[in-house]
Point group: C2
Chain length 144, copies 2
DNA sequence: AAAGATTGAGAGGTCAATCTTA
DNA sequence: TAAGATTGACCTCTCAATCTTT
């Protein structure tokens, strides 16, 4: 029913987005999902755990490896935390900011063309509100 | 905006679904996505290519491997095609039908609890219609 | 040569165990 | 002992190459 359309739409739009990024010789969408929260953060850096909470599409362990790759590409670097020597920051570099600037229009255009354009203004507003509720539904973790 | 809630909702609901299946000692959702189209098909079987078109969340190559595993579990078997010796069917077995029966209530309940329950009746209808349009938007594959 | 499907090599993900610091 | 983060072993997906049949 509604769930089916939801799954299909997700698959279709993501395919188009990745294709658009790839066609522009840009990194995959996951990189954007990491860089963007860093850009918005107070000092343009976040602790790994905080970052993991933002990047909903990947687990804490996968994030570690992903950050490895992005760091190797020079778009962020790890920094140690002053008052807690266990933790580490992921901190955006200037090259990372620049990459965000290049990815954004491609990402936005792909989503606009395939997703937003299929929705009316009013529908988009309604959908955002309804789906916001989904994300906050109670845990309901009564196993078995 | 709306897109963000969409991505979050997708991640949240899928997590819950996989957790519910796993807690019930059932296979992952992808198996359901393969078995269900077979169940609906004329002879409870489809050619690999047709099946790949139904299972939107995976590519043709990944489907080959996935079908390997499901076949090894005895839920389907491959059959040769009478008039085209290149092709092969994936055909549901009785054990496959039984597995669908066991997965369905768990899957439905998880989606119901996290997704449907957060939407109103009217919203669900609207959403299905709007997202249906997304899946059918034109290809727009003017690279670069 | 092209179509249907699978396979080898490699990229990227998870779970459980580990290392370090609190 | 527990918390923050990473690593080792393993699993699954994709791309390009392959095999078979048309």
């Amino acid at each position: 029913v509604a769930w089916r359309s939801f799954l299909n739409a997700h698959a279709v739009v993501l395919d188009r987005v990745e294709a658009a990024l790839s066609a522009a010789s840009l990194p995959p969408l996951a990189w954007y999902h990491v860089l963007w929260p860093l850009y918005r953060a107070p000092e343009r850096r976040l602790r790994m755990g905080e970052l993991a909470d933002e990047v909903v599409t990947i687990g804490r362990t996968g994030l570690s490896r992903l950050v490895d790759r992005i760091e190797a590409a020079g778009l962020l670097r790890r920094e140690s935390v002053a008052d807690d020597r266990r933790g580490s920051y992921a901190a955006l570099t200037p090259a990372g900011v620049e990459m965000l600037r290049r990815m954004w229009p491609v990402y936005a255009r792909a989503v606009g063309d395939t997703f937003v354009s299929a929705l009316g203004e009013e529908e988009a507003r309604l959908l955002a509100e309804a789906l916001g509720r989904v994300a906050k539904s109670p845990d309901a973790l009564q196993l078995l």
